[in-house]
Symmetry: C2
Subunit: 412 residues, 2 copies
C-alpha cells in the first residue's frame, strides 16, 4: 500500500491498460522538465535529517489528491498495482487519515504503554492484516491456510518485527466441506508452529451458498519491534543495491496453472514460506545498512521497486539477466503474457541496502536455504527520479511501470 500513485508518471491508467512494460527511451525530452522540477523540489530538503525527509515526502504526497475515476470496483482495484494505490489513496487514506497509516508500509508501527504521550518506556509493536481469497484453495506447495499464516508473518517481518500473535477470521460458504476446512485449519496450525506464532483469537461467519467462494480467511498479526531504526520505502539513496532473496514468480505461476484453465503443465510449486528468520539473520548481519524490506506479493517485484523509486525519488536500475527466475516460470509467464517481475511470490523478499553492506547482506541471506539463491538485481541512481528502468538481456532499456490491470486475479 502506498500514497504515491499520483506521482507515478509516464503512463496514465486511462492511456495504457497494458500490464506489461512498454519499450520507451528513458529520460525522453517530454520527461526532462518534470525530472528537473523533481530535482529542484528535492534540493531544499538536503539539510533535513533522514526522518524529517520521510515526513516531508509524506506531507508533500498528502497535498495532492487522488481520485477513483471508475464508478464501480474492478478486479484491478485488488491487484496491488496502480488502481489499488489510487483506491487506497483516494478512499481509505483520505477517510482514515493518521500518521501511522500514512507511512503505508506492510504493517503499522505503534507504541503502546510508556509513561507519557511520546511512548518512552512503552512497547513498540507492528500490527498488520491481510485477507486471503486465493483460488483454488489448494495448490502445489501450499493452500489458503499456510498462505494466510505466512503472508501475515511476512508482513510483520518486513516491518522488522518479531511475529508473535495472529488472529484468524473465517468467512465460509454454506455447503463448504468440513473436511476441507479441517485440512485448511491443520495447515494453518502447522504454519503457525513453523513460524513460531500463536493463533490466539478468531471469528467464523457463514454466508449463504453463492455469496462467497468456499472459504476466505483474514489474518491480522501483532509483532514486537525490538530493533531501533526505521525501515521505509522513502529512505533509499542513490548507490544502494537491490537484492531479492530467491527466484521470483513461483507462487503466482503455480496458482494460475493450478486453476487448470490453461492447458499448461509445469513442474513448479508455490514458494509460500515464513521469512522472519531470514529477516532476523539479515538485520543481525547488517543492522544499519538495510533501508527497506518488502515481500513481493501482489504486483510482484516491479511494484515494490516503483514504490521505492517514487517514495525516495530515485531511479531504480534493474539488470534483467541478474533477476533469478526459474526457467519454467519464465516459460509459463511468456505463455500467460506477463513479465515475471509482476508475478506474486509468497516466500521472497526484496531489500534495498547500503552498497557498503551489500556483500554482507547477500551472505546473510544465502546462509539459509530460503535465501540460497539471493542475488543483487540492480542499484539505485539519482536520475531519472521516480522511475524503474530495466536493462534487458538484449542490451536495451525499458521502463517498468507499476502494475496496471489485474492479469493474475485472486493469487493470494
Amino acid at each position: 500500500m502506498s500514497e504515491r500513485s499520483e506521482l507515478t508518471i509516464g503512463h496514465s491508467s486511462s492511456a495504457s491498460e497494458a500490464s506489461t512494460p512498454s519499450d520507451v527511451t528513458p529520460a525522453a525530452p517530454s520527461r526532462a522538465n518534470w525530472a528537473e522540477q523533481a530535482v529542484a523540489d528535492h534540493a531544499g530538503a538536503e539539510h533535513l535529517t533522514r526522518e524529517e525527509q520521510v515526513l516531508a515526502r509524506i506531507e508533500k504526497a498528502r497535498r495532492k489528491k487522488s481520485r477513483v475515476k471508475e464508478e464501480r470496483i474492478t478486479l484491478s482495484h485488488g491487484a496491488g498495482g496502480k488502481a489499488t494505490h489510487t483506491l487506497i489513496d483516494a478512499v481509505f487514506l483520505d477517510a482514515f487519515r493518521n500518521p501511522v497509516l500514512e507511512a503505508m508500509e506492510d504493517g503499522a508501527s505503534v507504541t503502546i504503554g510508556g509513561a507519557d504521550e511520546s511512548g518512552a518506556g512503552g512497547v513498540r509493536l507492528a500490527f498488520t492484516t491481510d485477507s486471503y481469497v486465493v483460488h483454488p484453495l489448494f495448490f502445489p506447495g501450499g493452500d489458503i491456510g499456510d498462505l494466510a499464516v505466512n503472508g501475515t508473518v511476512n508482513d510483520l517481518a518486513m516491518c522488522g518485527a518479531r511475529p508473535l500473535y495472529l488472529s484468524a477470521g473465517f468467512i465460509l460458504e454454506e455447503g463448504f466441506p468440513v473436511a476441507d476446512l479441517q485440512r485448511i485449519v491443520d495447515s494453518m496450525a502447522k504454519a503457525a508452529t513453523a513460524a513460531g506464532v500463536q493463533i490466539v483469537t478468531g471469528d467464523t461467519k457463514v454466508v449463504e451458498r453463492g455469496k462467497c467462494d468456499g472459504c476466505y480467511i483474514n489474518t491480522a498479526g501483532v509483532g514486537v519491534l525490538e530493533r531501533p531504526g526505521l525501515l521505509s520505502a522513502a529512505t533509499a539513496k542513490p548507490g544502494d543495491k537491490i537484492i531479492v532473496s530467491g527466484e521470483i514468480g513461483d507462487h503466482g505461476v503455480t496458482v494460475m496453472l493450478a486453476r487448470g484453465e490453461l492447458d499448461i503443465e509445469a513442474d513448479v510449486v508455490s514458494d509460500t514460506a515464513p521469512l522472519h528468520e531470514l529477516v532476523a539473520d539479515l538485520l543481525d548481519a547488517v543492522p544499519d545498512g538495510v533501508r527497506l524490506l518488502r515481500d513481493a506479493t501482489r504486483g510482484g517485484v516491479a511494484t515494490i521497486l516503483n514504490e521505492v523509486a517514487v517514495a525516495s525519488q530515485v531511479a531504480v536500475i534493474v539488470d534483467e539477466a541478474s533477476v533469478p527466475v526459474q526457467e519454467v516460470v519464465t516459460g509459463a509467464s511468456e505463455l500467460l503474457g506477463i513479465d515475471p517481475l509482476y508475478v506474486a511470490c509468497e516466500g521472497r523478499l526484496v531489500t534495498i541496502v547500503d552498497p557498503a553492506h551489500a556483500d554482507a547482506a547477500l551472505a546473510a541471506l544465502r546462509s539459509r536455504p530460503l535465501g540460497e539463491k539471493a542475488a543483487v538485481i540492480g542499484e539505485l541512481k539519482d536520475d531519472p527520479p521516480g522511475l524503474v528502468l530495466l536493462r534487458t538481456s538484449f542490451g536495451g532499456t525499458r521502463i517498468v511501470d507499476m502494475l496496471v490491470g489485474d492479469p493474475l486475479p485472486r493469487i493470494c
Copy 2:
C-alpha cells in the same frame, strides 16, 4: 466462542433444532444424577484459588472431545450458538490449541515485552478480530462500516481493555459501487473517531462478480489492559447479579426488517454503538465486583448466559419481566418466531456482578445515555448448575438453551 458445547446438556442438537426455548420442568428426575455428579466433581476444587479454578475448568473441558457431525458447513455454524461452539471446539481449538485461545473470551489477552518469560514489566494487550457480512449493508441506525468498528471496539472493551488501534480488511465484489464503498469508509472513519481509535493498517481484495455479496469487512483490534484482574465467564458465583445495559434485540430486528422480505414495518433502529466508555465507568465504579463483560451480539443474551452457566457451573435465573425490550421489538420478534433473548444487539452489554456491588454497577451504567435503561435481569444460584432458567411473566419456569440453528443469518 467457547469450549463448552459438550457440557451443555438438556438438548442434543439432533433432538431439537428449534430456536426457541422449550417448556420443561427444571431439575427433572432424568437430570438429577448428572447434577449430583457435577456438584461432586466441583467439590474438590474448593481449596483452589479463583484462577486455579478457572484453569482446572479449562483443563476439564479440554479432556472432552467435540465432533462436528455435519459433513458440510451450514448457516448455523456461523450463528454464534451451539453449532458455532462445536465447530470452534472440534476444528479450530483442537488445531490451534494454546492457553490464550482456550480462555475463549471476546478477545485474547497477551503480554508483550518485559524482562523475562513471565512478562513482568511488559505491556498487557487485548487482541481481537471479527468479520462482518451483514446483509443489507445499510440499515436504519447504521451500516456495515460503523458496525465493523463498534463491534471490534466492543470486543476489546469487554476484555477490560482500552481500545487503541484497528486494522481493516476489505473483500469487495467486482462491480460494487465506489460510492457505496466511500459511504461505508466514511462511516468507519466517523465511528473510529467517536470511539477514540485509529485505523492504522488495512488490506483490499477484489473477487469476481458472484463470489461475495458486495462488501465484507474484517476488523482486528488491539487495546491495552490497564486494569488488574481477570474477566471471565468462569469466575461467576452463586448470588451474583445479572445486568444488561439497555433494551435488547434492536439491532437484529432492525436488520431483519431492513431486508424487506417480511411485510412488517416497525419504528426501530440498530443500537450499534461503542461501549468502551460505559465499560470504563463501570470498572471505575466497581473495580473488584465485575466478573464478566460481554456484548450480546450473535446468539443474543441467552447464549452469553448459557456460557456463564456452563463455565462457572452455576444456575442462571432470569426474570422475564425485568428484561428491557422495546414493545416494537417484542412484537416483531413474535412475528419472526424468535425470543428477543436470542436476538443480536450491537450496543448492549451483559455483566455479571458481585451482589454487594450491584447497585453501584447499575448506577454507573445508568449515568450514561447508552446505559440509562440498564436493569438487573436475574441472578445466579448454585442449583441446577449449567442451566439457564427463565421465570416467565405468567409465573412458569422454562429452560433457555443455547441458540440452535440460525433464525437470523448475517445479522453482523
